[in-house]
């Protein structure tokens, strides 16, 4: 027996009409997100029960019209027309409209009426409309529109039973809704075009083909018109214009006059517009001075909390990883499998998870600010500044978020609809100095830019300059991209400011969960793979050391001996003989020396020696080259790698960050004492330290960022481009700093 056909209802509506709230209220917790190839928008699917029957519900991306301009906007149209692969055509379209802004919202509804499907109108936020003195006679509206109209309050769950019943009824009835009638001249052209493109093209698309000059339907269907398709279309539009219904005016005129007739006598408006809470709040929040001050204060609080709240969680994850590693090390014999598990997999997973608290907190804040309606105001305030570098106000939050971490920043760029703006934002966001760059700055500034080498104020200034590099270079690159690769008309920037409302806990948690999962699952796999690769390059060839033992086995022995010594010392308590302390120190040194030697003969070590001619002009020796090379998957490993290379064992970023005087830490001392091989010329001069910092400031050393760019742009080309341009920029920057610095310092 074939499975019974399960009826499907699709939700369409303008952004900020409470469509997602309605979807959540109808479908409960069981939801899944649908991704389609080639687009970044998602649709959500859930199930609801009405009258004992189970329905599928699809939540389509919020849109102002069904006139697609991009592949992203085409998704909604394809789904409702049944042209989307893997989706069945919906049986009912539920058009959700905001009661306080009826005319504008019904524009989309009139398009939905032409799809050839039954339509149910969900009249949402009737309470908000009432509070503004707007009363709507739903019964009369329903008669005049010719489709059921159900007043609801999605956020309070009111009217949903009636809506469910109306959907079930419409699905049974299957009578297609009827939209406004267009002028005769238009219908004639539609008929003629339909014969050319073939009967298998939905009537809706043929109408769009004619109406949307330069739209996405035109791009997709113009080939079907045969040779000279563009001319055919132009001629048809010309005939329409001659008949007094030119595109695009004819559509707006026809629809709005139909809406005026359909709503006649249904809507009571107050004689004078009420002053709403939104008006009062906006007086302050969109004010040029007060609004900007509130915005800056808010941003400070957000970023401060990201740093403060995430820190204990990140430390916890780090601690958990170390405990697990120690436990496994005791449990398993030394060998490639143990090493792969500990240094490759565990380190890799740990380095992914450690970003999770920051991502969750940032997205929690973004969700709150967006859901309450503030984000649009922030974008409005920042638009002037951002438009100077060819971006728009919507790029500001992604850029600012990238100061914490580029991964959530790039994900936050989804709010930008314009494809070129969005790409320019995504490609330049990784230039902002993220928190993973901080340990490098701290170490190098502490070791080389602080007293006694320089006056007290130089270190703070250097830190400020390092952060400024991103702030200055990112807008320049964005502007260059917008003038070259992403060139195009500066699109008119238009954005709706939604009414303020209290954010819903559910929406916020959902958003945090979705972004966290997206990061861990999709970006995580790539980070893990690259960490395993670096591990392998540092592990192999698994050679024998000078004493005839394999390096890792030798190292494991030394560590066991070290542990025994430490236990002895602990047992002896305060009265431990000084020889014991010396022995421990000697053992540590030996272990570090073995580790370093192993490192040097590894594949990565050899690669470092091979690239030395390339990094020489930057003032680096092969060790620095190796450290830079090893930090390409994740720049935060550089402090650890430097520690290993300078035989100081496993130095952790935190040890550097927490040291009172960084210049006095052992790693800093070892770096200060490092000499060019065979000479007593110090490796690290001021220009070298600066060139290394500039390199880290500009270079794209973060596999997670590249993975997220790939995920968000759906191409390997853009991450490759980002990687190349940032690395080239970093090389040139470091080269310039070293070569110019050498002349003065």
């Amino acid at each position: 027996m074939p499975p019974p056909h399960r009826p499907t209802a699709a939700l369409v509506g303008n952004p900020n009409t409470g469509k997602t709230t309605l979807f959540n209220a109808l479908s409960g917790l069981r939801q899944r997100v649908g991704n389609y190839p080639g687009v970044t928008v998602e649709t959500k699917k859930g199930q609801m029960t009405c009258g004992g029957r189970v329905f599928d519900v699809i939540d389509l991306p919020g849109t102002y019209s069904l006139a697609p301009r991009s592949p992203d906007e085409m998704v909604a149209v394809d789904v409702v027309l049944g042209c989307q692969k893997e989706e069945v055509r919906p049986d009912v379209v539920v058009s959700i409209v905001d009661a306080s802004n009826l005319d504008r919202n019904l524009y989309l509804t009139t398009q939905a009426l032409e799809l050839g499907l039954p339509v149910v109108v969900a009249l949402n936020m009737v309470d908000v409309a009432e509070s503004q003195g707007i009363h709507i006679d739903a019964g009369r509206l329903s008669r005049q529109l010719g489709v059921p109209v159900v007043p609801i309050q999605a956020n309070k769950g009111k009217g949903l039973d009636v809506l469910r019943a109306a959907i079930a009824c419409a699905a049974l009835d299957r009578t297609p809704a009827k939209g406004p009638s267009f002028p005769e001249a238009f219908e004639r052209e539609v008929g003629a075009l339909r014969e050319t493109v073939g009967a298998d093209t939905p009537n809706f698309l043929v109408r769009r083909l004619l109406l949307d000059v330069g739209g996405y339907t035109e791009k997709r269907l113009v080939d079907r018109l045969g040779p000279g398709g563009a001319e055919t279309l132009k001629a048809a539009r010309g005939r329409m214009a001659a008949a007094g219904c030119p595109t695009p005016g004819v559509e707006a005129r026809t629809r709005y006059s139909w809406i005026r007739e359909a709503t006649a006598g249904c809507v009571q408006r107050p004689a004078k517009r009420f002053v709403t809470w939104t008006d009062r709040i906006d007086k302050v929040l969109t004010h040029k001075l007060w609004g900007t001050l509130v915005f800056l204060a808010l941003m400070f609080v957000v970023f401060q909390s990201i740093f403060t709240w995430a820190k204990p969680l990140m430390d916890g994850i780090d601690y958990g990883k170390d405990v697990l590693a120690d436990w496994l090390r005791d449990l398993m014999p030394a060998g490639p499998l143990t090493s792969l598990l500990l240094d490759g997999v565990l380190k890799g997973v740990g380095s992914v998870l450690v970003f999770l608290p920051q991502i969750l907190i940032l997205f929690g804040f973004i969700a709150i600010l967006e859901d309450c309606g503030y984000m649009a105001r922030a974008a409005f305030l920042m638009d002037k500044l951002m438009s100077r570098c060819g971006l728009s106000g919507k790029s500001f939050i992604p850029m600012l978020s990238s100061v914490a971490c580029a991964v959530p920043g790039i994900m936050a760029a989804r709010v930008i609809e314009n494809r070129r703006d969005r790409l320019a934002t995504i490609l330049t966001a990784p230039l902002m100095s993220c928190s993973a760059r901080l340990p490098v700055y701290v170490l190098l500034i502490g070791a080389f830019m602080s007293p006694p080498r320089f006056s007290w104020w130089v270190s703070g200034l250097t830190m400020f300059l390092m952060y400024s590099i991103g702030l200055v270079v990112a807008p320049i690159v964005a502007l260059t991209l917008k003038r070259t690769l992403l060139r195009g008309e500066t699109p008119a920037f238009v954005m709706e400011m939604p009414l303020y409302k209290i954010p819903s806990v559910r929406t916020v948690l959902r958003r945090m969960y979705d972004s966290g999962m997206a990061f861990v699952v999709r970006a995580g796999t790539l980070i893990l793979a690259s960490m395993v690769l670096v591990w392998a390059l540092l592990y192999f060839p698994r050679a024998e050391g000078p004493n005839g033992q394999l390096y890792d086995v030798h190292l494991a022995h030394l560590e066991d001996e070290l542990k025994d010594l430490q236990k002895q010392k602990e047992a002896a308590g305060d009265g431990a003989p000084s020889e014991l302390t010396d022995a421990i120190e000697a053992k540590e040194k030996e272990a570090n020396a073995v580790q370093g030697e192993w490192q040097r003969q590894s594949l990565l070590g050899r690669a470092g020696l091979a690239i030395e001619p390339a990094v020489r002009p930057l003032g680096w020796d092969w060790k620095i080259g190796v450290a830079a090379l090893a930090s390409f998957p994740a720049r935060e490993v550089v402090v650890g790698t430097l520690g290993v290379i300078y035989n100081e064992g496993k130095v952790k970023s935190d040890d550097v960050m927490e040291a009172e005087n960084v210049g006095e830490t052992r790693l800093a001392r070892a770096m200060q004492d490092a000499k060019w091989e065979g000479t007593d010329r110090p490796v690290f001069t001021t220009p070298t330290a600066l060139s290394l910092m500039v390199f880290f400031a500009l270079c794209c050393q973060c596999a997670s960022t590249l993975a997220v760019i790939r995920r968000e742009t759906l191409s390997w080309g853009w991450p490759a481009f980002t990687f190349v341009y940032m690395t080239v920029l970093a090389y040139i920057g470091a080269l310039a700093v070293y070569q110019i610095g050498r002349l003065f310092l």
Binding site: Q132, V213, G214, A252, A492, F493, E496
Partner: protein, 83 residues
């Protein structure tokens, strides 16, 4: 004051009301403005002039920027007659 002359939207001051007479320019832009409720015959109020500007159109509030603002021709109405 003569209120029967046409102005580009950009020329309106904060708080002024007007009826949109014509939206011209790229078809894509005209279509987009219509979807958002800005079409000939609609009434709007300028909340904040400049670039970007802030408008009240019907029940919604829009933020707009671009050369296209010059292509929205409006006929000012006195505040008393507005709404």
């Amino acid at each position: 004051m003569a209120l029967d002359h046409l102005l580009p939207l950009e020329m309106l001051q904060a708080g002024e009301w007007a009826d949109v007479e014509d939206v011209s320019g790229e078809p894509e832009w005209v279509g987009r403005m219509a979807e958002l409720g800005v079409r000939s015959g609609c009434r709007l109020q300028v909340l904040q002039p400049g670039s970007p500007c802030l408008l009240q159109v019907g029940g919604c509030r829009l933020c707009l920027r671009g050369a296209c603002l010059m292509q929205i021709l409006v006929r000012p109405v006195t505040a008393a007659a507005a709404w």
